[in-house]
Symmetry: C2
Subunit: 329 residues, 2 copies
Amino acid sequence: MSSVTETFIPTLKNIQDAARLLEGLAVRTPLLESPQLNDLTGGRILVKAEMLQRTGSFKFRGAYNKMSRISETDKAKGVVAYSSGNHAQAVAASAKLLGMSAVIIMPKDAPEIKINNTRGYGAEVILYDRMKDSREAIGEKIALERGATLIKPYDDPLIISGQGTLGLEMAGQARDMNARLDAVLIPCSGGGLSSGCATAFNAVSPETNIYSVEPEGYDDMAQSLSSGRKVAVDGKAKSICDALLTPTPGDITFAIASKLLAGGLVVSDKDAANAMTTAFSMLKVVVEPGGSVGLAAVLSGAYDARGKTVGIICSGGNVDAKTFTAALR
Amino acid sequence: MSSVTETFIPTLKNIQDAARLLEGLAVRTPLLESPQLNDLTGGRILVKAEMLQRTGSFKFRGAYNKMSRISETDKAKGVVAYSSGNHAQAVAASAKLLGMSAVIIMPKDAPEIKINNTRGYGAEVILYDRMKDSREAIGEKIALERGATLIKPYDDPLIISGQGTLGLEMAGQARDMNARLDAVLIPCSGGGLSSGCATAFNAVSPETNIYSVEPEGYDDMAQSLSSGRKVAVDGKAKSICDALLTPTPGDITFAIASKLLAGGLVVSDKDAANAMTTAFSMLKVVVEPGGSVGLAAVLSGAYDARGKTVGIICSGGNVDAKTFTAALR
């Protein structure tokens, strides 16, 4: 990738640094196993319960890793971020921990729980129209006006290495359970989590195949991996996976993913709802639609788990009661 | 207590033995903390997420501890148990692990998920009418006929010391988080969990006050603790807390509880539903009605958590989608 120099590609060392920095602040979320889920899929399924992370999703790992390294001078000017909601909460919570101000630009159709929680952490929230406005433009304008540091949701080496701590942690937990992971399935929006975790697994468990999983209509990473170049979807499709509606991978994330991912999987909204229900009844955890697509891939058969040991990242649990109860029906 | 000799009162050593036996089989469930929940209650709330235990409730700890010690001769004759559903699943799953047959007597109005899971583990399920039949009588009849070992749900030293492993584990996790627990609130049916955990805390954290929590109409432990002798309720009240409908404490459990508990708290069905909703939105875990009463006690004000560090046991997550969605509304 000519546009992404090696300097910007995070390494295992960057992820280990991030892990040290997050120790005692990020939750070491459990790796769950359910005999019922194993029976159902015919494989051994290990689920990283990242909805139990601080702020209810993995996004805290990257945001805090990035924001805690902002210089003292810049800290006073605060941060700005655009996000469908999980990065928003992560940036807001990190800002509160670090004593900074935060402005967050969120789509007006984001789940209420995400908007309310972001405000609850003390951030200023600006709502925009996903179909009309450019969140990037709004974010950059505010960054310019206030001198605030823009905290990108995924295309930043420090964000990617923060998210990679999840993969490093998961690899260690699987080892402790005497599990040799054949594959790990990762919900994918801009690719920060998949590229970070792929970097970690490539270093400590290179035999594990890493797959991104996306909802129908937003399979830009899958298409990009197939064609070997960044592809954009039109972003007009409806999906319950509010966290995964990014139309194209990031430059850095795709540079990593194109080297380290085994492929991209796609699931439907119905598959996602079914996975949320299975997580409710067999794992007793709350998974939001976008967080459930990895589990959806083994349940729908998009990935055939029979005879395999498969790691699944359930990446978040910030879902309104209304959406959750609709999925259970 | 003249009817309970010291021989039958479990000690810390019995709990430590059980913990060793359960290692690698029982899940070391996480102790969760939510800044939002702390803000809401004005205290520091640490939630033991025992719905993540094997079989979806704490009951596996006691059942496996008891059943793995059955003699080889008796193993062949199988086990029998009566249970509203969580002990049922625990006995069924333990029987499967130990290669034994199991007959479980369950109320016909038990949640479907509990009946189905119990059958799913390979047990034979016999349904009875809670208002008419005596589950104890049915259980003892089958035990006599088949020579099967009766696995009581709570009034057995090995069951109590198995459940006590939860308390021992929780005390260690709190210590690791630099938390000095002022109180621990424990859902109470027959008292196996509260008496086991009280034994553990009394040994390793004697300054912590232990409270049982029960639903309205089934506050037999609270009444028994107040009056200093075992009290029975009529057991005719309706409650969504299907796991906690036992009309009177056990002999052994009350002998322990009357010495070690600070008191008994009571919550309403509405409080329980509210706690289930709070666990959903702030902790991202699925708690069944009976498993939520400890959390309900701090949210309702039955226990005033302001300025205190409070451990809450969320004891199970086996709840039908219908009951769960009704609680979220």
